[in-house]
Amino acid sequence: MNETVPSEPTDGTNATDPVLVAEAVRKSYGDVVALDGADLRVDTGEVFGLIGPNGAGKTTLVRALTGTTEVEGGVHVLGVPPREVDPQRVGLLPQSFDPPARLTARELVDYYGGLYDSARDTEGVLRDVGMAADADAWYETLSGGQKRRTCVATAIVNDPDLLFLDEPTTGIDPAGRRSIHRLVERLAADGTTVLLTSHAMDEVERLADRVALLRDGDVVASGAPDDLIAAHGGRPRLSVTLADPAAGSVDAVAGALEAGTTDPDGSTNVGTRVDVEPTENGLRVLGVRPEGIGAVVDALADAGVAFESLSWSEPTLEDVYLELTGEEYSPRGDGGLVTDSSGNGTQPADASTVAEVGDVADGGDVVDGGDVVDGGDA
């Protein structure tokens, strides 16, 4: 793809028009509602990530955008209804795609390329997906990852302006995933608009300029990954593995933090709080900045609690996903949506609720919300 140059639209659209528009899209299969008024807008040259739980409607939305399913509502692709799009400009990797099993990878790329008015050089496409060395093996004899990479090759063989990749890295090993990631980055750099669905949040966070999260057939949040993380990802957390995770450790450490002289959230904002909660192997301190880790270590020492290891992490897109889908509770104490202990539905969380639900999720003992420490007062 090094030589590829984004082609100018020939259908009357211009570069500033959105490439994909979905407005109030609805689709039902009998009583099952797959899409319930989903809205979407993807601009030229964007890598757009579509995430959501199984059954959220991601694949149905991709099908709506590619014109392979009938939906209610407005759908425009490259300025026209999906079925009026010049197929030369669109590439698709369906989620469940099983091409002819007894063609080789090279023959499959040749085959799909042969259906277009113009196609890229087969060898170049095979190199792009890392399949050049195994191009003469029948598809059915390839590993799962090789199969998926071959399928990706069939989606880019026509050098599309708009590429739909429905879970492109499913079943691919880390090295194969990286080759697909690099490919998507190269395509994006060359001006290809990419709509990507995936369950791998790190993948979407790395590749996507913007992300939409689907739940129950509707887009519940969209934006740049960093913006979504800032809005819904919660706070940084320090996980502490204790030498002896005995009852009372949380209270002791929380007390020590409250009595300490260093602000453990690493900021000078009086009133910024950190929360302490138990985990299976110890405890977790929420809201800790890297520069505040020392304060936590001091508090552990002051409380007489020995620890084996510390692990600090920032919130990620996965936290956003868990927060907004309610699939699994990830306690933050910041008033987001959390799953109730029965796993049915969501509810606003306050600090004490967070502690209770979080403990259930972690399989630990339910405790009161008395572990909240006001770091600003420490």
Binding site: R63, T66, T69, P87, F97, P100, Y111, G114, L115, Y116
Partner: protein
């Protein structure tokens, strides 16, 4: 890529896929062979009257040909559609320039080639293992046309079955249910004289009847066959059109 180029690409891929499925290739040709051996060589005919096969051996040649002309396209195209649907291939093809008509034409061409070869095998076997005598005339040139047109007709029919059935198993069951009565009630193996009068309109309604009459007029009892070919052609166009329309594009 031109329309012909796309059809050629699809047909090439389909041919490769078929030829690499050895069991499919073997049984595609073995099925008519075993039929000719059983009915033509073991059971044989009894021209003096009585028995299952009371007509001279040459009478049944259209029947042997009908076996491959009918069964193979019905099951192959129907199964191919089920396979494509299950594997998300139609979803993929719907975003390429290949149209549904082109897809069906490509697969029809592959079937014409396969069944043409099987038909030659049948004719050779019939001559070798039975005492049938073929009429050799210029009309023999029309035989490949009859085979090709009939194959196209049943490819269209197979596409309809493939679209209606929800699985490969369903396609096979449906094609057998359709093919078996057609095979025996279309003036192939059972002469109309053995059937009740009230059933004869049903025989006339079977597309395979016109294939049997036409090929019999070419190979066994010289007669005009243009009307049969015309009827068969019109039906083939109709079934191909319906079949192309039935080829799935959406879920």
């Amino acid at each position: 890529m031109s329309r012909l180029g796309r059809i050629g690409t699809e047909a090439t891929a389909a041919t490769r896929s078929f030829l690499r499925r050895r069991t499919a290739v073997f049984f595609t040709f073995f099925f008519p062979v075993i039929l000719v051996v059983i009915f033509g060589a073991l059971i044989r005919t009894q021209p003096t009257g009585g028995g299952l096969f009371a007509e001279p051996a040459g009478y049944y040649i259209p029947g042997y040909l009908a076996v491959v002309v009918l069964f193979t396209p019905l099951s192959r195209v129907g199964s191919e559609i089920a396979r494509h649907r299950d594997g998300g291939r139609f979803e993929k093809l719907a975003t390429t320039p290949l149209s549904r008509v082109e897809w069906l034409v490509a697969h029809t061409l592959v079937n014409v080639a396969i069944i043409g070869a099987a038909s030659l095998l049948i004719l050779g076997l019939v001559i070798a293992v039975t005492d049938a005598e073929l009429v050799v005339s210029a009309s023999l040139l029309a035989l490949p046309v009859f085979v090709a047109v009939a194959v196209a007709l049943f490819c269209g029919f197979g596409a309809i079955l493939g679209a209606l059935a929800d699985s490969q198993d369903g396609v096979i069951a449906a094609s057998n249910t359709v093919a078996l009565p057609l095979l025996f009630l279309s003036e192939t193996f059972v002469p109309p004289a053995l059937l009740p009068d009230w059933f004869l309109p049903a025989v006339a309604a079977s597309p395979l009847t016109y294939f049997a009459r036409g090929t019999r007029a070419i190979l066994y009892e010289p007669a005009t066959w243009a009307t049969e070919l015309a009827i068969l052609s019109v039906l083939a166009v109709g079934f191909l059109a319906l079949g192309a329309y039935a080829v799935p594009r959406t879920d």
